[in-house]
């Protein structure tokens, strides 16, 4: 397995990973005088599960926000599907086929699970304002088609029983799953997950891991995820970027990363002298 091959590689479990889908080149992000990310480069390949790990405050979420357009880096370039991406608003990034979830769950609490997931289809809906407002045949047919797609996602994530429940009433673990469903409904090319397992119990973590693997397997969706729990990440991901204090300290397969001295130091702590 040669993970450096630009055309792709084959994983240990036999999955074919394609060429570079997204490439971050020398990204630097500052908030005032504080550098959240310093000169980081890495790529995400077609079809792989790519993890970004690091201790708290390492800049992982900032990196995800750069990819999804919530933050615009002061330096560096973002390349997507072989062309340089200009500075974009988050909704434009979403329209390009990049969906995401949030660390602290950002769902529409007052809306039902079904409506929440339907918002995930917004980027795919084509019919115009007037047709929508007047509910003409075309718009109606389109709505039905989208509804079918959404029902598939609901089945896939096993949340049929809560379809009509307002999200505000759901327990934490299910909310996380609904958020994943909303992201999946967009049929994204790239799925960004910000700490998908944070705050979950062991059983919920196992469920979520299974769903992430299934999504990747079934739909071939490229996934980039953030975790600070090393154990979970190592089982899930094909390649791992390790960040610490806003810098990249490791990049490679889980095994390579696990044996990297800088990574061990970052996680176990080492005296800085």
């Amino acid at each position: 397995m040669n993970i450096q091959n630009p055309d792709g590689y084959t994983t240990a479990d036999g999955r074919e990973i394609g060429g570079v889908m997204m490439e971050m080149k020398n990204i630097t992000l500052r908030f005032g005088g504080v550098a959240a990310i310093t000169d980081i480069s890495f790529d995400i390949r077609q079809g792989e599960i790519r993890a970004i790990i690091g201790p708290n405050g390492a800049g992982k979420s900032s990196m995800l926000n750069v990819i999804s357009g919530f933050y615009v880096p002061q330096e560096g370039e973002v390349w997507f599907h072989g062309s340089r991406r200009p500075a974009m608003k988050p909704y434009q990034v979403a329209a390009q086929g990049i969906a995401r979830t949030f660390q602290n769950i950002a769902l529409f609490e007052g809306m039902t699970v079904l409506d929440n997931i339907m918002t995930g289809r917004l980027t795919q809906m084509k019919s115009g304002m007037l047709a929508q407002a007047l509910w003409w045949g075309k718009a109606q047919a389109e709505e039905t088609a989208h509804r079918e797609k959404v029902e598939k996602v609901i089945d896939f994530l096993e949340i049929q029983h809560i379809r009509k429940t307002p999200v505000g009433r759901l327990p934490y673990g299910l909310k996380k799953r609904v958020e994943l469903a909303r992201a999946l409904a967009a049929e994204p090319k790239l799925l960004l997950l910000d700490e998908p397992m944070a705050g979950m119990n062991v059983e919920e973590k196992e469920d979520m891991s299974r769903f992430i693997l299934d999504v990747n397997d079934e739909f071939g969706t490229t996934i980039a995820l953030i975790e600070h729990d090393m154990g979970v990440v190592m089982d899930l991901s094909d390649r791992v970027v390790v960040m610490d204090y806003g810098k990249k300290i490791g990049d490679g397969t889980p095994d390579e990363v696990r044996n990297n001295q800088a990574v061990i130091d970052a996680y176990l702590g080492v005296s800085h002298d």
């Binding site: 999804s68 919530f70 608003k89 988050p90 909704y91 979403a94 329209a95 969906a99 995401r100 949030f102 950002a106 769902l107 529409f108 609490e109 007052g110 809306m111 409506d115 339907m118 918002t119 995930g120 289809r121 917004l122 980027t123 809906m125 019919s127 304002m129 929508q132 407002a133 509910w135 718009a139 709505e143 909303r182 967009a186």
Partner: protein
Amino acid sequence: MPDTFFFAAEVMINGLMAGIMYSLVALGFVLIFKASGIFNYAQGVLALFAALTLVGLQDGQIPFSHVINAIFGTELHHFGWTLPAIVAIALTALVMVGMAIVIERYILKHLVNQEPIILFMATIGLAYFLEGLGDVLWGSDIKKMDVGLPQGISETIETVTYNWFGYGFFIDKLDIVAALVAAALVIALTLFSQYTKYGRALRAVADDHQAALSVGISLRFIWVLVWSIAGFVALVAGIMWGSKSGVQFSLSLIALKALPVLMLGGFTSIPGAIVGGLIIGMGEKLFEFAIGPMIGGATENWFAYVLALLFLVFRPQGLFGEKIIERV
């Protein structure tokens, strides 16, 4: 049955009809407040501006004619045509959409992430600006609005009720139209928000900005959309009020009556705006009828506010508003 009973019933019905007018203004407030958390003080002025524009366009008035006449010593007033009401209404609706775009572009865009009080202040500024603009554009005289809505007492109702009860109810035809229009408006708004993609996007933005961005909703587009809808609702309110009592600048003061309506109904509920309006309208008419004579009358000026005050004490979220529970 005694005539006083029927008279009270008639007062109540007329109160309900007047309440519809408050509801129409309150509706515009709720739409903007729900979607953006902005308390739009300018909603009443939007209604005034829409009414002025409508009459101006319909009568073929020359915009800025006072200014032009003052500078050039001319005597311009009218183009000399009159537009059909439906054309003038459509054009005014376009003007309101244009205004939504301008408001987003030159005010809201620069105030993203500001405190609600800042945005509130901005809408106060907007209100006075629009009032002045309306004056300069179309003049400050009281104008008669006639878009073909039925006026006067409905004789059918009077005859029918007289035959049934021996008491003829006096009900303004315009009030009945206003009630029907308000009902249609609420149904249309509800369908729009529940079953269309833009409605869903609107609800999404109202709920969580960040999440809305992440599913590909452009906030700026939504602001324009929601202000356009509020502008359209203001146009409807302007038509109704204008047809009833003429287009005059005191129209913008009806916005203040919408405030107690909102406190009753809740700031975030469309049905609340309607029910609140009905309660205020009915309440102030009945109160004036029953208690007014005992305490010297003119209770309609303050009744709504006192009722709102009581609500603030006992049910601050209003009848239909969301109860705010702060977890600690």
